[in-house]
């Protein structure tokens, strides 16, 4: 191995020779073509029928959930939503290549990974409605999920914060001798934050078993990738930090699955980070507060519709004889019914109790918080109509 820290084995040149961007050519792994047939020389990863269908159904479920919840936001039933339409393969197929003991530290567009782990429709809804059954006790906006039992770290809004944290979490797993790694999801926009650079650098130097999974989906709200970075995407940065790196077609379930599976094996065996850059596209708006018609063309969106990851995997499954049209329609209808029924049921559950407002600030509420709560409750008792969602349960 080269003594990379002291550059003692570095090659010499004797004329000014500036290395230009573009000389590092990082190819993209693609196994399934957009029509759902594998490339001739490509090797389809070993997936049994059950797992292939689970991946497919999870992607389907997430798309239905996204559609329904965006509509629910428009109707004023929830305050906010972020859809992952077009990016389902990136989150679901990568999560499928992990083990349940692996920690997921995500941004906010990886509901597919969480659904794959078994987060229930009801749990999704509880969080979005901030009700009394929600694990995070109504502290955060909709889509900031978290579930300790499923090894899914609760999401934080500020971009990129989870990247150095994932390095630290993975280091802890290694030190504890766990057969587990951490995967950290983020977008190409978040990769501009200082946290990204700190996180990759520390993971590489401290030998942390972590997968950095960048969804390069083309836009950070309105800012297109070309105004986000110059250079060859995010993958080239991995190499700069000494992190093993692969670029994959993020709309190709098999490419994502195969790369993540291998990345996991490497991270665990060699105790090192691996960066995956998944090239995909955010077909949805950034969030329900955004309107993409102001900054990109319908033509561009239509071109990416042709690369729909769900249609692509669906075509492969049908060719393989593991899925038929009739069964698929039945499944879809079932998912739609379930989402709709849960939505109607869960929105009636009362919001979390007022006492919870001072919980979890510290391990136990100190005197000043107790005092403030007690004053608040006295005040609410005097004006119950001003606090209608909570005063009935004082």
């Amino acid at each position: 191995m080269k003594d990379r820290n002291h550059l003692s084995n570095v090659g010499l040149v004797h004329e000014v020779s500036i290395i230009e961007n573009g000389l590092i050519d990082i190819p993209m792994l693609q196994i399934l073509q957009p029509d759902g047939t594998p490339h001739k020389k490509a090797k389809v990863p070993e997936l049994d029928q059950q797992l292939a269908l689970k991946i497919y159904r999870t992607m389907r479920f997430i798309r239905v959930l996204d559609e329904r919840m965006v509509a629910a936001q428009r109707q004023g039933r929830i305050s906010f939503y972020l859809a992952s339409t077009g990016e389902e393969a990136a989150s679901v197929a990568s999560a499928a290549a992990l083990k349940p003991q692996d920690m997921i530290m995500s941004q906010y567009r990886e509901q597919g990974a969480l659904a794959f782990r078994g987060y229930s429709t009801e749990a999704f809804m509880n969080q979005m409605f901030s009700n009394e059954k929600e694990a995070n006790k109504g502290r955060q906006m909709p889509i900031h999920y978290g579930d300790k039992a499923l090894n899914f770290m609760t999401i934080s809004s500020p971009l990129g914060t989870q990247i150095p944290q994932a390095s630290g979490y993975a280091y802890g797993q290694k030190m504890a001798g766990e057969e587990a790694i951490t995967i950290c999801y983020f977008g190409e926009g978040a990769a501009s934050e200082g946290d990204f650079h700190a996180g990759l650098n520390m993971a590489a130097v401290l030998n942390c078993p972590v997968i950095f999974f960048c969804r390069n989906n083309g836009y950070a709200i309105s800012t297109p990738a070309e105004e986000q970075f110059a250079g060859d995407g995010i993958a080239s940065r991995g190499l700069g930090y000494g992190v093993k790196t692969i670029r994959v077609d993020g709309n190709d379930t098999f490419a994502v699955y195969a790369a993540t599976q291998q990345a996991r094996a490497i991270a665990l065996k060699d105790n090192c980070p691996v960066l995956i850059e998944a090239m995909t596209y955010r077909l949805a708006a950034h969030s329900t507060s955004d309107d993409p018609t102001g900054y990109r063309s319908k033509d561009e969106e239509a071109r990416w519709q042709q690369k729909d990851p769900i249609a692509r995997l669906g075509a492969w499954l049908k060719n393989k004889g593991w899925l038929d049209e009739e069964q698929e329609n039945k499944d879809l209808e079932k998912i739609r019914q379930e989402v709709l029924q849960e939505l109607k049921r869960v929105e009636k559950v009362p919001i979390c109790k007022i006492d919870e407002i001072i919980e979890d600030v510290y391990d136990t509420p100190p005197w000043h918080l107790k005092e403030q709560l007690s004053e608040l409750k006295k005040h609410m008792a005097k004006y119950p109509e001003a606090y209608p969602k909570t005063s009935g349960r004082l």
Partner: protein, 325 residues
């Protein structure tokens, strides 16, 4: 005069500043073609070109570090941080660099031309990462000015004054009022003084002090108190740093009572600093303890936002307690 909302007034101020001085540059996340997530920078790129109004990569520390360099070079940067909650990655650049550049160089270099714009505050169902009021963190930093407008008229006059002030200014915009607050705004150029409070209503029984979006709450509470025969004097602080202790103290000497209200948590909030100063300067004039009606000492919650907020009813009750002490 034209009727504008707070966003339009900010946009109008930016156009005025950019037309007047070609060194003024406006940048931040999504501020270019898109006009910012709240559209405060709409049409600026179209009008002034991509060199003067542009998107940056998503890096708050980068935005302010870049702005510091730009300001020290003599340009006039107006940098946007998309939400006040996201200003913390830039904390080091603001607190250790922006604010201290002039001091540490013995006045040879400075970031005096820099203005940082950021939306702040709650009441929009934003949960804790879209609702915080971080003014007190920055008020502990010598070298910065901190300005918060409460309506469109102030927004234009104070923003223009901030851009032209030879000190770095953190200009915090009450996002709850962006579209809700409308009013007459002169189309011509004007500025309002930094560091000067505004008495919005004179009264005799108690001084009520707030800033930004909290002024609406104070006004509502004042009306309730009026019905009970309490005549309050109302002051909009407008500048947090430096703050107008003279106007506040003169008022307290007259009324004998003071109530301060802000959305940020009570402990270590800027109300504490005001209370300490007023106590020092007006001790013998005070007829009751200085009241603070603030956010709870918890992170800003989503589901219990209404309960968390220092609303008009909480202020009203505190007015009565203070007056009848």
């Amino acid at each position: 005069m034209a009727k504008m909302n707070l966003l339009q007034a900010i946009n109008n101020a930016l156009i005025t500043a950019m037309e007047e001085n070609e060194k003024v540059m406006v940048f931040g996340e999504d501020v270019g073609h898109f006009g910012g997530v709240f559209r405060a920078t709409s049409n600026l790129q179209q009008k002034f070109g991509r060199d003067r109004c542009f998107n940056t990569p998503l890096t708050e520390q980068g935005i302010i570090g870049f702005a510091n360099g730009l300001a020290s070079q003599g340009s006039v940067p107006v940098a946007e941080i998309q939400f006040g909650d996201y200003i913390f990655p830039a904390f080091d650049q603001i607190v250790n660099e922006t604010a201290k550049w002039r001091y540490r160089s013995g006045g040879q270099f400075s970031c005096g031309t820099l203005t940082i714009r950021t939306p702040y505050g709650g009441g929009i169902a934003g949960g804790h990462y879209h609702s915080q009021s971080p003014e007190a963190y920055f008020a502990h930093t010598p070298g910065l000015k901190i300005v918060i407008p409460r309506n469109p008229y102030q927004a234009k006059g104070l923003l223009l004054a901030s851009i032209r002030d030879d000190n770095p200014v953190l200009f915090m915009e009450p996002k709850r009022l962006y579209r809700a607050s409308t009013g007459e705004v002169p189309e011509e150029d004007y500025t309002l003084p930094l560091g000067k409070a505004e008495i919005t209503k004179s009264g005799t029984d108690i001084t009520l002090l707030a800033w930004g979006a909290q002024m609406e709450v104070i006004d509502k509470a004042t009306e309730l108190a009026q019905k009970e025969g309490i005549d309050a004097e109302v002051i909009d602080l407008r500048s947090i740093l430096p703050w107008d202790a003279e106007t506040v103290c003169e008022s307290v000497v007259k009324t004998g009572r003071l109530l301060i209200s802000h959305e940020a948590p009570l402990t270590g909030g800027f109300a504490s600093e005001i209370a300490a100063t007023v106590q020092d300067k007006c001790f013998l004039n005070l007829e009751s303890p200085i009241a603070r009606v603030c956010g709870l000492d918890t992170p800003y919650p989503l589901a219990h936002e209404k309960e968390y907020m220092p609303d008009h009813l909480k202020v009203f009750e505190a007015i009565k307690r203070t007056v009848h002490y």
